[in-house]
Structures are given as structure tokens and as C-alpha cells.
Symmetry: C2
Subunit: 333 residues, 2 copies
DNA sequence: ATGAAAGCGCTAACAA
DNA sequence: TTGTTAGCGCTTTCAT
């Protein structure tokens, strides 16, 4: 497994390394046709492959960026990563994806590793606890973009859903369908994760707007492990809600599982709307109404934003870009 | 954004670069306590972060491996990638994931890019058309492992499902539930993609074993775009099958969508078993029986195998490791 | 116990 | 038009 280097090509072609380098970097301007041809042949004959590591060392750019996702198990995460990857692939960048599993220490560790690998930029779904780390990066003018969540203390361009509007859309739909006592369930709000907090807030605002009662006991941010239990306590109480908003795909699964296990008919016994349009919502029986994030657009935007930051094109950047959610109305409510 | 180098640390600590390097690589043996302390302090003070690119250039190892997945849109792909990533993370490797989108040219391009980046190894879901490329890698003793699909012409360790057994399991379950006319649908078999071909083969063998009729018209490998049409032609024909095996998750979605649109009751009008246990199968109404791949085990095995290959520990390696599928029986059939 | 120096494969002035 | 040379930041003999 011996690698062919530029020197080998140079020797084979009877020219110097620099000439080969010129050739590889398309600086043909002052290059003789015959030289070009000979280098071309030498490369072909030896099966030369440039060594990006050496190139990176010199150029101080790895044409690689890192994505640190808070939790890969949401369909939203994998889908937006695909969109991001597609965009960077076009720009000839590679993407290293890291899953922080909602753990700030892991996030920190990944940031360090990625920086050590000289990535040219970072897209982070921030856990909020590493504020000093983010600020440090920012101070050094390191290309950084936040996704999905915002960190008020840090001045970094952020791509996220208009969460309040999303929750509002859900409430509106339920209101219009005639439901009167709504609830919303999200993952734990312990760490003030933006989407959860904002969706709950939007939910409340919308309820007030439509004159619906706001029952705190039906508005819960609770860890997934305890979700079933929480749902149960809500549903067996006096005057249970007639409609529930699922804060994300995983919560939706919990609710559907509960509904099935307890023979709740959807939407007769309980109407459901899920925030995040997941693949099976449309084929579920009955089809589940959802609030969709414009995932591709968001991934695309995050990627192009980072690319432009890397290119130092200090183009005017809105600090936070909020994308609108759309309602995908189906039979479940 | 000025990076601190080893030279800076050396100066700050009043020692030479080599000593700092020793320190970083834990070669403390002959190092004075005071020197150690001073280097430690200098690193802390300057906030030094080693440059992995420089290190990689010297060491000829990037502590990065590449995974080229044939098609990321299968839940199987994303889940097994997670398992692989988890394993490499433990070994302090980074993983670059590339999606070949079932296109051999893209696969080839990714292989070249990853090699240029000096990845230490590759896990590939092979498209079969790049046989010469695989052989070249193999010839050079480049650490390579195949996943999900085998390539007969190439002698590379391969981790895959025991596809025949999987299909057999599906048929057995349907047979035992009393179904008599079975069919199986997979993605296009045009390129002889191992799982599709083998699942069909296993299906046929099992049907014969149980004395069930083998109707070629109910055994189809067809592109996803044309799946609905194909299902329709099968179901409206004379004596349609009373049970269908879905070759993978995407096919299952197609069948379920069709069933819903045409008001086929499951399992009364049509029983269904899906190969690949996807998250929503259990909460579907009715719950869908599936054949599960031991995804985590497979990812783990692929990763450890590659790691051991990288470590040149020429441990005895079975050329192809086939993992058994398991039946997850639910109400749908 | 620590330092000097060579070199990994490439790029980019600057010479020629 | 092409070659010479000096690094990029690190590791690793080999001296000292």
C-alpha cells in the first residue's frame, strides 16, 4: 500500500513538483501543451491521487465541516442533515456528523475534536450549556451557524422554525375542527430547549387568542421515559383534553402508542396533531395531521450561510432566520 | 483567528518542540516533573489545541474512516450508521458518511475523495458495478469492509443479513397463519442487489418447502416509482394473493399506502409482513409483523472488523458474516 | 532528561 | 514557461 506522491509524478513526467502542482490546480496559463500532456500521462500511468491532508496543512483548510446534532433520533435531524450534506457536497466539502446525545460534555468534546481536525466551519444544534465555548469560537471569527435552537447569550446566525407560529397553527386547526380542551406534550423543558419552550408558549398564546381554556396540567414538558405515565395521568383525570399537540415525532409515537394500548379512537376520543411531519403520518390509520418544518429549505439555508461565512463574504446576515411551519391537514382531527 | 502551535507552547514553557511532543504523546518516562508542569501550564495558558492535520500528515493516519451507504433513505441505513459511529467514537475515530444514492459513479467519486483525505478505512454498501475499484483497494491492502450486500467477484469481509432465512421466516409465519397465496415485492432487481435477489430466492424456496404455490407474477422486483402500479395490477387480477411480503421499509410504505387508498383491510383482505423492523410498525393499526435485522450487532461487527483490519491485526476473519433475522409477530397477519 | 534536525506531501513566492 | 526553495505543524531518530 505505497502511495504515489507528487514527486513521483514529477519525476515520471520529467518536470518539477511545482509544475505538477500548477497543473493540478488548473493554473494552465503559462504551461506548455506538451508539459501538460506529459503530466497527464504520468498521473494516469502511476494512478496518482493527491493527498488532501498535506494540502490541508498548507492551505489551512480541510474542505470539511462538522455538524453536531443534539439528538440524531429525531427524523427531523436525519432529514436536515441530508439536506445539509447535499449542499456541501455541491461545494466539494465533506461533512462529519456527530451526535451529542443531548449531552453538553459530548458536544464540547466533539467541538474540540473537530477543531483539532481543522474543520472549516461548524453547524451546531446547541445544548445551551456551552455558552463560553460558543463565544470563544465567535470571538475567533470561526464560521459557526446554529440550527434548530437559539442561544440568547451568543451572537451567532441561527436557522430555526418559527415555533410559536407552528404551535399556533396546530391550535388553530384544532379550534376550527371544534375541539375545546387542548393539551400539549413535549420532551423535558428542564434545559429550556428553544423549540420546546417556544412551542409551549405559542400554544398558550394561541389558546388565549381563540378563547380556549389554558390548563397548565395539560401542558407538560416531560422526559420521554415518563411520557406514558404522564399521558395516563392526564387522560384518566376529570375532564381530560379532547385534543393533544405532540411536541415532536417521538412524543407523537408515545401518544399513538398510548392511544392504541388504551383503545382510544382517534380522533373521536382524542384528536392529535404532531409537530414535525414524519413519514408515516400520512399512512397511519387514520392519517395524522401534522405541522411540517421546511426541512430542506432550512438545511439548505444553514449550509449556504456557513459556506458564505467560510468564504469570508461578510454578506449581511440576519441573526436569526425563522422558517414558517405549514399545516398538513389529514383526517385525524 | 490565530492558532497556537506547538512552537508557541515550547517557547512559553522554555523547552523544545520535541519535548512538548513527548508530553502530548504521554512519553513521560524521562521527563522531569518540573518540565511536565511547565508544559502543562503553557498549554493551559495559551489554550493550545494540537493540529490533527499536521499529525496525520506525519503519521499517515487520519483517525477517520468513511462509510459509503448505497441509499440513506432506508431506516436500516441510518440506524446501522449510528451503530457504526458509536463504535468508532469509542476508538476515537471520526466517521464521514457519504450517500451514493445507488449511483456507482457517485460511489466511485466518494471513494476517491475519501482516499484523498487519507481515511484509514472504508465501510461500503457496494453497488457492485465498481468491482475493479474494490479489487484495487483490496490489492493495496486497504482496510475495507462490505455491508448489507456482497460482491462475489471481490474478496472482502462482508457483514450482511441472512436474507434467505429472513424471507423464509416471513413465509413460515404466513403459512402458519393459514395464508395460501403469497407474493413478495422488492425494489428493482435490475442490478442484482444482494438482499433483493436473495430475499426473493429465499421466498421461493420457503414456499416450495411449505407446499405453497410459487406464482412468478406475485414475485416482483420493481422500481419504487412504479410500485403502486405494480401492486394494483397484482391486486386486481384473478385470484390475487392473500398475503404480501414487503422487501424493505420503503416497499412496506407503498403497500400500506395502497391498502389504505383502496380500502383493503389488513390482514383480512391482505396480510402483510415487512422485512426490516421499522419504528412505526408496532404502533400501526393493526400492528405490522416484521422481520428484524440485528442492526446494532451488525453495525458493531462491521466497525470492530474494520478497526481490527486497520490495526493490521490479521485476526482470522470469516469472509462473509451472515446475521440471522428475527420474527416480530404482531397482529397484521 | 532534553534538543536539533530531518521530513511527511503539498503550495506559493520568487528566480531563472 | 518552469524550477528552486521555504515553509505548513507535527513526530522521531539521534545527539548531547
Amino acid at each position: 500500500m505505497k502511495r504515489v506522491t507528487m514527486a513521483d509524478v514529477a519525476k515520471e513526467a520529467g518536470v518539477s513538483k511545482s509544475t505538477v502542482s500548477q497543473y493540478l490546480n488548473q493554473r494552465y496559463e503559462f504551461m506548455g501543451e506538451k508539459t501538460k500532456k506529459r503530466i497527464e500521462e504520468a498521473i494516469g500511468k502511476l494512478g496518482y491521487q493527491p493527498n488532501m491532508v498535506a494540502r490541508s496543512l498548507k492551505q489551512k483548510s480541510s474542505t470539511t465541516i462538522g455538524v453536531i446534532v443534539a439528538n440524531i433520533s429525531h427524523e427531523f435531524s436525519t432529514r436536515i442533515i441530508q439536506a445539509i450534506e447535499a449542499q456541501f457536497h455541491q461545494a466539494d466539502y465533506h461533512v462529519i456528523v456527530c451526535n451529542a446525545e443531548d449531552k453538553p460534555e459530548k458536544e464540547k468534546k466533539y467541538i474540540d475534536m473537530l477543531l483539532a481536525k481543522q474543520v472549516d466551519g461548524l453547524i451546531i444544534f446547541p445544548t445551551s450549556t456551552n455558552v463560553n465555548v460558543y463565544n470563544e469560537l465567535n470571538l475567533q471569527d470561526f464560521p459557526l451557524v446554529f440550527l434548530d435552537r437559539s442561544v440568547p447569550e451568543v451572537d451567532v446566525p441561527t436557522i430555526m422554525l418559527d415555533n410559536k407560529q407552528a404551535a399556533c397553527l396546530a391550535v388553530q386547526e384544532l379550534y376550527q375542527k371544534g375541539y375545546e380542551m387542548l393539551g400539549i406534550l413535549t420532551n423535558s423543558t428542564e434545559y429550556n430547549v428553544t423549540p420546546r419552550v417556544e412551542r409551549i408558549e405559542g400554544f398558550k398564546q394561541a389558546c388565549r387568542k381563540y378563547g380556549l381554556p389554558v390548563q397548565e396540567k395539560f401542558i407538560q414538558g416531560v422526559a420521554l421515559e415518563n411520557m406514558t405515565e404522564k399521558i395516563h395521568s392526564i387522560m384518566i383525570g376529570e375532564d381530560p383534553p379532547d385534543a393533544l399537540v405532540a411536541g415532536n415525532d417521538l412524543v407523537l409515537m408515545e401518544i399513538l402508542t398510548y392511544a392504541r394500548d388504551h383503545h382510544l379512537r382517534i380522533p373521536e376520543d382524542l384528536a392529535i396533531i404532531g409537530i414535525d411531519d414524519i413519514s408515516f403520518a400520512s399512512i397511519y390509520n387514520p392519517a395524522i395531521t401534522t405541522i411540517a418544518q421546511p426541512v430542506e429549505k432550512m438545511g439548505h439555508k444553514a449550509a449556504t450561510l456557513l459556506i458564505s461565512k467560510i468564504a469570508k463574504q461578510k454578506q449581511t446576515q440576519d441573526e436569526i432566520v425563522r422558517f414558517p411551519a405549514t399545516l398538513i391537514s389529514r383526517s385525524s382531527c
